[in-house]
């Protein structure tokens, strides 16, 4: 009864199925980044996301409007590629180390109301509200 064919059918086939599934799920992914797990240290540079400015009149509906200029990091000619992501610049961090505040964000905009830079100090926001949570 326990001949080669029996082993092939009742051990070989299940093992083959398991191996295929394991290969499919555990294979080194092309885009596998370490998933955040609570309790792990966070070793990425701080990022500050801000919304796209609303398009006022004219211009194309897609992509950053030329009227606002590209979303840019202050002091650099590079533009974010259709994303509102601004990696913190090392220079800013060194600049503000005396004050102990975070990175500056600026939208490269010609409008009077745009993003804030570290240079232009906006009016104080009055009594602040909000909430705090831990997990």
């Amino acid at each position: 009864m326990f001949d080669a064919e029996w082993y092939l059918v009742f051990a070989g086939i299940p093992l083959a199925i398991v191996a295929v599934l394991a290969l499919l799920t555990l294979r080194p992914g092309k885009d596998r980044r370490p998933r955040y797990k609570p309790g792990q240290p966070w070793q990425h540079a701080p990022v500050w996301f801000e919304p796209h400015p609303a398009h006022v009149g004219g211009g194309s509906e897609h992509g950053p409007a030329a009227a606002h200029g590209p979303a840019a990091v202050p002091g650099s000619g590079t533009a974010a590629l259709g994303s509102s992501m601004y990696p913190e610049q090392p220079g800013e961090r060194a600049l503000e180390s005396g004050h102990g505040s975070g990175p500056a964000v600026a939208t490269g905009t010609a409008r009077p109301v745009g993003g804030a830079t570290a240079a232009s100090v906006p009016p104080p926001a009055g009594p602040l509200g909000g909430a705090r949570g831990t997990w």
Partner: protein, 151 residues
């Protein structure tokens, strides 16, 4: 492909020089492009819906975290009064929501606390982007769509 071209650099960069293209962090280092798109859309749409300016900070916060978040909030736009900052520090397991005076009229602290609660429950399960997007949705639902923004 470009890896083969990354030979030892012979440039004369000093401390104050801006980082070169090869030294810049990858855009999708923290979140994938798909997740970035979700965050982008959530931020932009909730800001347009409500007329408030939602910004999102993800990274280490100085201690005390509240004070650092408030300093960040003060620099988050031209009118910080109408700005809402969501500061998430996954390393410290802290999320801070800071609302300016104008935003706080439409987003009372209890609404913020509710959004924070739903965010932390997602964060505790390891879902950063889902928690942030849901929190933004709750906040913008609470703030509503002012009549002045309706066409």
């Amino acid at each position: 492909m470009t890896r083969a071209l990354d030979v030892e650099s012979h440039d004369t960069a000093s401390e104050g020089t801006a980082p070169s293209r090869t030294e810049e962090p990858r855009l999708d280092e923290v979140f994938s492009f798909k997740e970035l798109a979700r965050l982008d859309e959530a931020l932009t749409m909730s800001s347009r819906e409500t007329g408030l300016r939602f910004t999102l900070y993800v990274g280490e916060l100085g201690t005390p975290t509240r004070r650092h978040a408030e300093e960040l909030h003060a620099r988050s736009g031209a009118t910080p009064s109408d700005a809402v900052l969501i500061a998430v520090s996954p390393g410290q397991r802290v999320v801070e929501v800071v609302t300016g005076a104008g935003a706080a009229r439409r987003l009372p602290d209890r609404a913020c606390a509710l959004a924070v609660l739903s965010m932390t429950s997602s964060f505790g399960a390891g879902d950063l982007v889902g928690g942030i997007v849901n929190g933004l949705r709750q906040l913008s639902d609470q703030a509503g769509h002012p009549a002045g923004l309706r066409p």
